[in-house]
Symmetry: C2
Subunit: 341 residues, 2 copies
Amino acid sequence: MGNRPTIADIAKRVGVSPGAVSFALNGRPGVSEQTRARIVEVAREMNWRPHRAARALGGSQAGAVGLVLARDPHTLGSEQFYTQVLYGMQETLSARSFAVQMQLVRDTTAEIALYRDWSSEHRVDGLVLVDLQVDDPRLTVIDELNIPAVTLGPRLDGALPSVWADDSEAMITIVDYLAALGHRHIAHVAGPPVYRHTAQRMAALRDHAISRGLDVGVSVPTDFSDAQGAAATRTLLSRRDPPSAIIYDSDLMAAAGLGVALELGVRVPHELSIVSFDDSVLTRIVHPQLTCLSRDTYALGAQVAEVLLKAIADPSARQSVQSETPKLVVRGSTARAATQR
Amino acid sequence: MGNRPTIADIAKRVGVSPGAVSFALNGRPGVSEQTRARIVEVAREMNWRPHRAARALGGSQAGAVGLVLARDPHTLGSEQFYTQVLYGMQETLSARSFAVQMQLVRDTTAEIALYRDWSSEHRVDGLVLVDLQVDDPRLTVIDELNIPAVTLGPRLDGALPSVWADDSEAMITIVDYLAALGHRHIAHVAGPPVYRHTAQRMAALRDHAISRGLDVGVSVPTDFSDAQGAAATRTLLSRRDPPSAIIYDSDLMAAAGLGVALELGVRVPHELSIVSFDDSVLTRIVHPQLTCLSRDTYALGAQVAEVLLKAIADPSARQSVQSETPKLVVRGSTARAATQR
DNA sequence: GTCGGCTTCTAAACCGCTATAGCTCTTGGG
DNA sequence: CCCAAGAGCTATAGCGGTTTAGAAGCCGAC
């Protein structure tokens, strides 16, 4: 309810027209340097801040970008990954006084509905799409809504600018590392195969295992929950021919898998090596600590923000930048494969 | 860039004035039921959505509430708690087409600066304050900005409406439970004592231990990080007279503490019982699973949203509601105290 | 038949800022 | 000395809603 000063108040104080004040405060030509200095000074004195809605109404921007996470409420909240990305985005965006409209929804349908709402209400100037699916219904909608957007995930040779990582290469890094330790039978507890990055990892494991002459690399799909991660592990370990190493698509599932191994009396890392595709505190509080792929998620968020801002400024320029490839951090959960039983 | 229909377009189609359309669509008197029906129908047909900025400018609301989490970037992202609260808030708020402006910042100073920005830019209609401090500088600012706000945390007999939980009672529940198991020496790995809830828990442990005739209940303050949680545990366990039970203010620290116990060869729960003040997946993926206080955080978020909406609608009515008291969920990390050594 | 009062609607101002057209004054060229 | 060009400003029209004052039509009452 505070009586915020408006541009008109400043104009009155300085003795110029509101238009002049607008010019001055937005750093555009039309006022002398002298007048500009005076206006800027008074504006600061009066503690003036632009009224977002008024600006947005003047045909221009809402000053916000949207990020929607579609998650089963139960699986929710464990992802340090997106929290960090969000943090990186916010630090970059708030410097340009953009806000991030983040919302958690149940599924992709709700996500799409939200995009439509936000777009028609002019709530956001751009969107960040994460968790790309193999045949992603969101892409059509984005196209239809004609709103700037950037994808975060695997490479997407299509319409949208993106910040992408090479999931195949990441998988190959892990497989090579495990192969060098003598592992020949490597399994993979994957996410849902509808996700592009999951599909890519599965394919990479299969292909690379073949080309390196290893046993066929089996991927078990899950819903990313700790329960299914545990179940998948149980299944794999009770096979006649259990793997000597398991790669997990998330650190939560890796931790759950570790628990199952302990429970079954399978010693980690001596009898089973575990690698997680994600890094977070979780990998460091379990015992043994988990070997995993790690990357600077904060920087990733900042990168996403940059690309999105460019896309907003110039929707025709659709650049794609590659993000830093995750690096393998070796901890206690991996070791040389036990000699063949 | 989509050419969204405006109220004027609808007015033209129906053959009435824009004002009438506004009345009709906002369900206020001034139009006949017949006309209203026609207008609503055409609006739906044309897929009309209010332009947020225009609404906000017309003197009324921004249609958003703010939630800021002040966190050290390193400690960040493990809190399933706030993610769930956020989810509960969003489900309730989006039904009334309010958005949640969530932002992560480094510290309270940045948080306050953000409140000022949001308020002066008219970005939010209300705020949710979490992590209340003993002498909280935010309260003055909220008062000064004269913006509706609700606090989430311990009871606060002051100006602001709140959704509060009784941390003392929660602590007493735990202590009673442990005492019944025969534990006489109970320690507490706390958060930073600047937080009211931490201070309250510390006081409750101390007082209640005395009144129940137990050994003095020591609280070790930390910064909520896994590292300090581990360090505190190490300190406690290497005392001449180690506690037989430790209560942790967060599940992350509890998990870290569990790791330390294992490492030191202290068997959980036989030689050491562990209780966490928070519940999340984390408590279920470690071994043994952690006994903890659990509550419906989703419902809590919904409750916060309700109270905030009421405060926005009528800033003079400052109600406070008590949230459900957390319930103790017994899992594998607690057991009868070993007989005195 | 006139008047008050109700319902139902219109016209117009307004929210705070941006953007454009145009006005005034100076300056320099021919 | 006049005109064109440019700098520096003002006036004004939006943006898409909300909100108020008031007009028109209809009713019943006196």
